[in-house]
């Protein structure tokens, strides 16, 4: 088996299980995002992979070789830290050369590798600069270059882009993904930003309370969340309690025709872009408009159907003709609904 | 290099040497001093092992009581004056540019590190009749003829404030420089004048620091041993001077040790008060 394999990993801090019985396979060359709210155990999991924490139980192996007893400094992984952790007493070039220097590589090799890496991250010629003189984005790139210096088997990043402003973050997401594809390196990124996870990864692993909730390709996870937690965390979702009524489902304010429920009471998830706002006569659900957010590229409408909040997102072309206080109709196609058994999630 | 409890014997090596040094050359001397405080003095400046409370019994004299009260009042006065000067000074200092701050800090450290001997000598010169300030005042016509201001209580107080002032500022400095400037700005936007904002926001926020500093400087002043001798008369001698005097000139080590133990207990209880205050304030 080539790639990283986690087998029933658990990490306890006292009585609390930060990571609880996690098994995961990351095939060679893939880009995986560990996604979840803060405190879900994703960083602890990453740190165990890096060797910075010891699992309480379970095995970690890479390419079939067990890793548990290998200390962090012998794993040959590259890691980018949330704080970036650039050495303040070393220049940019010295930072990047550090892993080569402590391995005793000749200085000519160090210099040429540093040059190569700086070109790779689009910062040629700044070897002599002090790390304190760099901008946030430059520091980011230097940290990435340093982590890649010894061509690691595994590239780990802990919230690497969280310190950057929104625009730069988007640009770096693209760049990071391109870099990973160019090098074909197995990469694991920890993030709490679902847009970041959606835009970069081959696979997303959603975690909550130390457990894996779902692992899937981004678009599959978006379309078919395994439970209400995933539906809500990855993008926006209308989570509605529904009751079976023959071939239809009864929801607050009306019904969803053609959605047959196996269980009499279920919870369904509908993406806001699948909720169509129409006239009271045409919709199958009646709701009152409570609030409209016009964000230019899209319009978000918050509605109240029998005390339950619905959110609809429409494109400017399909701008619905409604104002705050109007009673309108909603139509939700049955095929856009994901049904969870009640009680779960 | 993960932060973990020591496991193997070798993990303890780094702490062994400091523990040994401090144990042998600080704890043991302290214990010997404690033992001597219960010993008996014999003629010729020596002492012999005994277990007597007689040395502590001597505290119950009027003379000792006066010295103790004088020491405490003097230390409190010095601490109060230092805070009165030091609080506004430190506040202004932290508002200066980084460069100006460094200049002042170097100057303060320079004065702080000055030997008590040098401070005492300098002030005794400055307050003397031949070389002192009074000459200056005569020159500009404020006084008819030069006068000696030392020895005297004013000279002792001035010297001690001079010595303790840099210390006060350096104790206050961290809290003041970490004080969030937006607190002042917020109170200004809420209608407080700078002076009012200082009294209603800065001082209350730093109340615990101020109390702690008062006590720390108080202990510092309580330790003064040379300035009262150089700048004062015998009635201005403090407990520390008395200890030195008994130990060196009267050769009464047991009594000196008993006084030192008493001074430690007094200082330590004050330190514990500070620690308790700080712990209470840690939640802030």
């Amino acid at each position: 088996m080539s790639g990283l394999e986690l087998n029933r990993i658990t990490k306890r801090f006292g009585a609390v299980a930060a990571v609880d019985d996690v098994s995961l396979t990351v095939p060679q060359g893939t880009f995986v995002c560990l996604l979840g709210p803060s405190g879900c155990g994703k960083t602890t999991l990453l740190r165990m992979i890096a060797g910075l924490e010891d699992p309480t139980s379970g095995e970690i192996s890479i390419d079939g070789e067990p890793l548990n007893d290998t200390p962090a400094h012998k794993r040959d992984f590259g890691m980018v830290f949330q704080s970036l952790a650039l050495f303040p007493h070393l220049s940019v070039g010295e930072n990047i050369a550090y892993p080569l220097r402590i391995r005793g590589r000749p200085s000519s090799e160090q210099a040429s590798r540093v040059k190569e890496l700086l070109e790779l991250v689009h910062l040629p010629g700044i070897e002599k600069r002090a790390v304190t003189q760099l901008s946030g984005g430059q520091r980011q790139r230097v940290a990435i270059a340093r982590a890649l210096a010894v061509s690691p088997k595994l590239f780990l990043l802990d919230e690497p882009l969280s310190a950057l402003d929104a625009k730069l973050r988007e640009a770096m997401q693209v760049e990071l993904r391109q870099l990973q594809q160019q090098l074909g390196i197995t990469t694991i990124v920890v993030t709490h930003d679902q847009r970041e996870a959606m835009s970069m990864s081959d696979q997303i692993v959603v975690m909550s309370e130390g457990r894996i909730q779902q692992m899937a390709r981004p678009i599959d996870m978006y379309r078919n969340p395994a439970n209400a937690f995933v539906a809500d965390f990855l993008g926006q979702a209308n989570l509605i309690d529904a009751r079976a009524d023959g071939p239809d489902a009864l929801v607050p304010g009306g019904r969803i025709p053609g959605l047959s429920l196996a269980c009499p009471g279920s919870r369904i998830s509908v993406r806001p872009e699948d909720v169509v706002v129409t006239t009271a006569e045409n919709g199958s659900i009646r709701a009152r408009v409570g609030f409209i957010r016009d964000m230019g590229a899209s319009i978000e409408i918050h509605l109240d159907g029998e005390g339950v909040r619905y959110v609809a997102i429409a494109s400017p072309q399909a701008r619905p003709d409604c104002r705050v206080g109007d009673t309108v109709g909603l139509s939700i196609p049955a095929e856009a609904c994901v049904v969870f058994e009640s009680g779960k999630g | 290099m993960r932060r973990m409890p020591p496991e193997r014997a070798a993990d303890y090596y780094p702490i062994a040497y400091p523990a040994l040094m401090l144990g042998l050359f600080f704890v043991v001397p302290f214990a010997i001093m404690l033992a001597i405080s219960f010993f008996q003095r014999v003629q010729g400046g020596f002492y012999e092992p005994a277990f007597t409370f007689a040395n502590y019994g001597r505290f119950l004299s009027v003379f000792f009581g006066e010295v103790l009260v004088f020491s405490l009042v003097l230390a409190a006065l010095v601490s109060a004056v230092c805070l009165l000067l030091g609080v506004p000074f430190t506040y202004f200092l932290t508002k200066l540019s980084r460069k100006a701050q460094v200049f002042w800090l170097v100057a303060l450290l320079g004065v702080l590190s000055l030997s008590e001997v040098i401070i005492g000598f300098a002030w005794s010169t400055l307050l003397s009749r031949t070389a002192g300030l009074s000459n200056l005042l005569v020159a500009i016509g404020f006084m008819d003829r030069p006068d000696a201001w030392t020895p005297g209580f004013g000279a002792v107080l001035t010297g001690l404030v001079y010595q303790a002032f840099p210390y006060t500022v350096l104790v206050l400095y961290p809290s003041f420089s970490r004080l969030d400037p937006s607190l002042m700005e917020a109170s200004r936007t809420l209608g407080a004048s700078p002076l009012k904002a200082f009294f209603t926001v800065v001082l209350p926020v730093l109340r615990k620091t101020l109390i702690a500093t008062f006590i720390i400087v108080f202990i510092f002043a309580l330790g003064a041993y040379l300035l009262p001798q150089i700048l004062g008369r015998p009635q201005h001698w403090t407990l520390s001077v008395l200890i030195t005097d008994q130990a060196v000139y009267q050769s009464n080590m047991p009594f000196a040790a008993a006084m030192a133990v008493f001074l430690v207990v007094a200082s330590l209880s004050l330190v514990l008060v500070v620690a308790a205050l700080n712990r209470k304030g840690a939640g802030q």
Partner: protein, 268 residues
């Protein structure tokens, strides 16, 4: 904004207060004759030269510098392992050692002095020149202890972890990351201990007061038994040493941060 002059006046008055004694002793050292008059009568740099030419003063100066250098080295050698151990290990009991290191400086100095006197007298080494080196070394542990502890506290744990993931073992990390980062704090700690030991009187007096003359002891003796302007010139010389040393600390390190302020970067 309100007028700045009250603030300026206040700061200037304090500056004068702090500088005045030093100006006066610098002045009296310029007297032509052996008198402590101010303003000086006549002009002579002879008293300044005396610090180095007079055998007694020169010897005292050499003693002071030797004692201070050795004592500061001892202080640093005790303080660094404590700070290192507390940073490196989870060992709450080791705080006791830290408190022992800080105690001599918090307690009135006469106590440490009397303790030292009792100890050296009991062990029979009283009066040996090296006893003051050890007693000073213990007395000033707190200074490097405070600065070096601060130095370790400024090392971001993630930096150490980054080094680990890049392949550095403990020894390599110590050499290439930890030590370079705390070195300025060790040097400042040494500087503080050195300057304070130079100026220390009572511990020196109670350990070697009758056998070894350091500068403070010699000045004090001169105060008792006969004033000479050399006292003034040597005091000025000591002030200069202190200012130069702390100036160097400020030049090569972040002095405000060393004294507990946030560093410039932290302010954002």
């Amino acid at each position: 904004m309100s007028a700045h002059w009250p603030k300026r006046l206040f700061l200037s008055a304090l500056a004068v207060f702090l500088a005045l004694p030093i100006i006066v002793i610098a002045g009296v050292a310029l007297n032509e004759k052996k008198t402590l008059a101010f303003p000086p009568e006549g002009f002579s740099l002879g008293w300044y030269a005396q610090v180095f030419t007079d055998e007694g003063w020169r010897a005292a100066l050499v003693h002071s510098v030797l004692v201070a250098t050795a004592a500061a080295a001892i202080s640093v050698s005790i303080a660094v392992p404590i700070a290192w151990f507390l940073w490196r290990r989870v060992a709450p009991w080791a705080r006791i050692v830290e408190v022992l290191g800080l105690a001599p400086f918090i307690l009135p100095p006469v106590i440490t002095a009397l303790g030292a006197l009792s100890f050296w007298a009991t062990t029979g080494f009283y009066g040996q020149p090296w006893t003051v080196v050890i007693s000073h070394g213990i007395f000033f542990v707190s200074l490097p202890l405070v600065t070096v502890t601060l130095g370790f506290a400024t090392i971001d744990r993630e930096i150490i972890e980054a080094g680990m993931t890049m392949g550095a073992d403990d020894r390599t990390l110590l050499k290439t990351v930890v030590f370079p980062l705390v070195r300025p704090y060790i040097i400042s700690g040494f500087a503080f201990a050195f300057v304070l030991s130079l100026n220390e009187y009572i511990v020196a007096y109670m350990t070697v007061g009758f056998t070894l003359e350091t500068i403070p002891i010699k000045i004090f003796n001169a105060l008792r038994y006969g004033y000479t302007p050399t006292m003034a010139s040597v005091s000025v010389f000591f002030v200069l040493v202190a200012v130069v040393v702390f100036g160097l600390v400020a030049r090569f390190g972040d002095l405000p941060k060393l004294l507990g302020a946030w560093s410039e970067g932290d302010k954002g």
